[in-house]
Amino acid sequence: MSIKKITGKTISYLILGFFALITLFPFYWMAITALQDSNSAITWPPQLWPKTLHWENFSRLLEAAPFGRYFYNSVVVVILDLAVSMVVMSFAAFGFSHYQFRGKETIFMLFLATMMVPSEALIITNFRTVAKLGWFDTYHVLFLPYVAGVFYIYLLRQAFEGVPKQLYLAAKVDGCTDFQYFAKILVPIARPMMITIAILKIIASWNSFMWPLLVTNTSKMRVISYGLVAFQSEAGNDFPLMMAASIFTVAPMIVLYLIARKKIIDGIARGGIKG
């Protein structure tokens, strides 16, 4: 390698390292602030590394606000969301991929067209709808409006259509009903896509914010993102506790990301390239 090439490479790595630092720094700051004592978090200048680590901040946090409950609520909502939406979406994908009927592609286009509609334009009516249904402060209100993700239906339909028709004919010969073929053959074959979609759904569900804010009144039913915002108005300037609460919120998704990094990145990239 020539000198010029080595210098070029070094500069590349320096720039990439710089942006990696900028990306990671807020997370580092969140973590070490969570371990500061409340007074040194509001001293000038700020400390880049706390002298003593105050792990008791986490127990102080749990005494100050029911974050255990918020966390539990979020987990429940994610699980219910996942269970219902995977059934609804794979059903829809199967209906569109397996059967032929007049107007099918028109209906499918109508489904896809809703992707252009910002959900923010829909919450006005949805807010009143769920109020009339008496759904405030329930688990199902937090996810039910979002279980039919049309983009995921589109991805699943593609995955299902990639399965050769011979498998269906063979299953028919073996006496399978359409539903058995769907549940026992099609879904297992499309498992990689199902898992990718499930993970993306988990992330979206866990991080959702505006809708929970609107349809939750009691603190008992708050999900974690709403609990975090509510805690801010209560905790005010206790930054270590705020950051400890933030860690509760981001940690599960970071763990999921580190485990399923490839699935997540592939899923998002696929959506990006296919449009």
């Binding site: 807020p26 209906g95 009516t125």
Partner: protein
């Protein structure tokens, strides 16, 4: 035969169809109807164009549109510019590429609210690290980033760029890596240097991908809400950091004026529709494979 297909498909399609009808098609239609209601709640209806007149006379809404426009016009190009550079560097290296990719994508999966609070602390006028660094390097006085109309929107934009890098870097890097290396080999034989290769090969072939991230970026920027709510707070309008979705939220949540909220939502919807159609057109125009 054809109708039999529908009969069999129906049980599978019905759940999603019901959900979409109740929570997407109906509210979409209703937003249009409600936006022409002179009275604030749907309990009484009086068809009128007045709501739109009020909307565009409302200085808070005009400020919200202005902020949203500035936010979109600044954060999207800045973020894509930085992302293009990062993506180009990422494709030029092999060692540590996966590591860097993993790092850059992290903000995408983490809650905007939680990260916004950390940024709020970094931006804090008295104890924030950003003011410390600015003071050290440039001798600047402490800037009240969050609680001052002059700076609040800038803080939101910086945070917005930081957050949007994740998606843009991923898509642009994936796009660049999918370009056939043969092109670069051929160019090198012809004596092209790296810069020439980038502008004559990468950029033209990447144009559809760039137009895609540009559109998605603009659409998301026009819908900016959580970033503002979590960073500036529920009184963003006081700090002149209102955005269009924030305005909808305020009308709905604080003033209970469903008609004004709907009219604002229709305006947002039209903007996003135009952006989407524009991007379709742009994608077709820039796609080398299609022409």
């Amino acid at each position: 035969m054809k109708q039999e297909g529908l009969k069999k498909a129906l049980p599978y399609l019905l759940p999603s169809f019901i959900i979409l009808t109740i929570f997407t098609f109906y509210p979409l239609l209703n937003a249009f109807i409600q936006s022409f209601n002179r009275l604030p709640t749907p309990d009484q209806y009086d068809f009128s164009l007045k709501t739109y007149q009020w909307l565009f006379k409302d200085t808070t809404f005009m400020n919200a549109i202005q902020n949203t426009l500035w936010y979109s016009l600044i954060t999207v190009p800045v973020s894509i510019g930085i992302s293009l550079m990062i993506a180009a560097l990422l494709t030029s290296i092999e060692r540590l590429r996966v590591f860097f990719q993993t790092v850059y994508f992290l903000p995408y999966v983490t809650s905007a609210v939680a990260v916004a609070f950390t940024w709020g602390y970094l931006f804090n006028a008295d104890y924030g690290l950003i003011n410390l660094i600015l003071g050290h390097l440039f001798g600047l006085a402490k800037i009240p980033w969050i609680k001052d109309p002059q700076y609040a929107m800038s803080a939101v934009m910086i945070f917005g760029v930081w957050r949007s890098l994740a998606f843009n870097v991923l898509i642009l890097t994936t796009g660049m890596l999918s370009i056939d290396p043969q092109y670069y080999k051929a160019a090198r034989v012809d004596g092209a240097n790296n810069a020439t290769s980038f502008f004559k090969i990468t950029m033209p072939l990447l144009a559809p991908v760039v137009s895609y991230v540009f559109t998605i970026g603009l659409i998301n920027a026009f819908k900016v809400f959580t970033e503002v709510y979590a960073l500036i707070g529920s009184y963003a309008r006081v700090y002149k950091a209102n955005t269009m979705v924030f305005y909808i939220f305020d009308q709905l949540w604080v003033y209970k004026d469903y008609s004004l909220a709907s009219a604002a939502a229709v305006v947002l919807l039209v903007i996003i529709l135009v952006l989407t159609l524009f991007s379709r057109w742009l994608a077709r125009k820039t796609d080398y494979n299609a022409s």
